[in-house]
Amino acid sequence: MDKRNRMAKRVAEYFKPGDIINLGIGIPSLCGNYAPKGVMLHTENGLIGVGPASTGLQNVESFSNANAMRFVPVPGSSVFDSAESFAIVRSGRLAATVLGGLQVSVKGDLANWARPGKTVGMGGAMDLVNGARQVIVTMDLVTKTGEPKILNECTFPLTGKACVSHIVTDQCVIDVVPEGLLLREILEGLAPEDIQKQVEPTLVVAGDLAVMAE
């Protein structure tokens, strides 16, 4: 399994049957493939029940997700307008939202929508991180140039403060807890020190540190 699918599969372990989940673009969009039966996907442009990509006669404008992917709705889907869609989001009806991240702070602040001077829009992300019961960030542990993305303070414009629940990276799984950042799982062959030197804050290592599935 490639890295992206491995991360998506790990994220999907947080889902339970009956959950309604919102998935962002990129790796988060792959999580649906690993969700247990009974999970339904919410798309913020107004539908619960996003299904597989559509082809042929079913490939119509009227069933598109927030990433403009056309899909076939699953049985039991429902449609609503954007105000109702975000009523669902803000009121805690989503079990989780899965998003990419640019930076996460030791307090669980998330920056994922803008770099300084490059603000093209937050879309629904600020509402999602404010409202979903769990905010799951999935991202590489460091940037392409090796800079840490898990920091004492975010330097990019925030999406939300103290909102992140879990961080699923290519090398480890970290939970945001009252004591700070708790290292819960690492890839086979890596030691906690290998993770620590790639992040800014001091990590708390779980007593039952587990191996992250390849």
């Binding site: 798309t43 913020e44 442009n45 107004g46 539908l47 119509v60 404008e61 009227s62 069933f63 598109s64 997700n65 927030a66 990433n67 403009a68 709705p73 449609v79 609503f80 307008d81 954007s82 105000a83 869609s85 975000f86 989001v89 803000r90 603000t119 093209v120 829009g121 937050m122 879309g123 629904g124 992300a125 600020m126 509402d127 404010n130 409202g131 414009p157 925030l158 999406t159 939300g160 403060k161």
Partner: protein
């Protein structure tokens, strides 16, 4: 039973320089593309656009950016449109970014005789800049004020002669909210239906919000 159907020329003549126009749709889906072409044919310039996004370059709502008609935008993002981004960065279009859920509520308030709503979305972010912070029952909220436009352009699946509207799937998105928030609401419907053809329980936007329907 006053008919609301209007000829294209009559609708084209409504658009004037400097107007604020709200448009339904989300990422090129569920957008009123024929009404957008009416705006272009009107020649109106220096418009303020109120819409979730500016579409793709020279597509759907992006047609208005491409044709140089837009001075200001209220939206939740512009990232898909490779023409809007450099215009913003060059200071040629003034873009106000609003979290998508707050944007929806601001339109709803504008259309519902409400002055604004209190939300936690955006607290502690740049979305809170310049906004009132209100305490209610010991909790802190951001006040998001009502947003209105002069003309609303709506895409519906069906319209009846009284302007009762239905939508299909995710093409609904912001359309029912846009339909309420303006002084004048103009609808482009995929299909005209007879009164009661869809059933009164299935109407999503009551005709009371609709002023005109594009005849075609």
């Amino acid at each position: 039973m006053l008919g609301k159907l209007r000829a294209r020329e009559e609708i084209v003549a409504l658009f004037k320089d400097g107007q604020t126009i709200a448009i339904g749709g989300f990422a090129n889906h569920g957008t009123p593309n024929e009404l957008i072409e009416c705006v272009i044919d009107s020649g109106a310039r220096h418009l303020t656009l109120v819409s979730n996004d500016t579409g793709d370059a020279n597509l759907t709502i992006g047609r208005l950016v491409h044709e140089g008609r837009i001075d200001k935008v209220f939206c939740s993002h512009i990232g898909m449109n490779t023409e809007t981004v450099p215009l913003k960065e060059a200071g040629k279009i003034d873009v106000t970014l609003i979290p998508q859920g707050s944007f929806a509520e601001r339109l709803r308030c504008g259309g519902s005789g409400l002055g604004g709503v209190l939300t936690k979305t955006g607290l502690g972010t740049i979305a809170a800049e310049g906004k009132q912070i209100i305490e209610v029952a010991g909790e802190t909220y951001l006040l998001e004020p009502a947003l209105r436009a002069e003309i609303a352009l709506v895409r519906a699946r069906t319209a009846d002669p009284l302007g009762n509207l239905t939508y299909r799937g995710t093409s609904r998105n912001f359309n029912p909210l846009v339909a309420k928030c303006s002084d004048l609401t103009i609808v482009e419907a995929d299909m005209m239906v007879e009164l009661d053809e869809v059933g009164l329980d299935h109407i999503v936007t009551p005709g009371v919000f609709v002023d005109m329907i594009l005849a075609r």
